[in-house]
Symmetry: none
Subunit: 63 residues, 2 copies
Amino acid sequence: MRWGQDRMDNDNDQLMTPAEVAEAFRVDTATVTRWARAGLLNPVFTLGGHRRYRASEISDRLR
Amino acid sequence: MRWGQDRMDNDNDQLMTPAEVAEAFRVDTATVTRWARAGLLNPVFTLGGHRRYRASEISDRLR
DNA sequence: TAGGACTGGGGTAATTGGGGTG
DNA sequence: CGTGTCCCAATTACCCCAGTCC
């Protein structure tokens, strides 16, 4: 069990949609977008410009 | 793949807003905030510093 | 290619945090 | 000692619409 330890700058991590992150924090999707624009989250971008968030990063902040 | 790491005090739990908790106990939202600051509740924090309370914890204290 | 669902923006109301005070 | 209330600043929610996803 070592998926939460050795990586925080990689790409082989489960990705979450803005709606999923918003539901996890009990917050609006627009709020998740603000967090990303403020640099509080480091999302991966789709080629169309949509954000996808790393599940590891989310579960860390969820505590 | 288990993300919650079999914890019962972490995620995988519905969250409540301060207003919802206040309504459940029939108190002001300021009182709920005092309970949290006094350590009587263990809320999850949004990245903006707002508190979200675990529904399981609230329903427990409601008995 | 068409279509429904979701997202990224922006603007404006509503909620929340914190301190201080009855 | 616990709670309700008033204040202000910050954060968040809800509204729109154009663009993206699948």
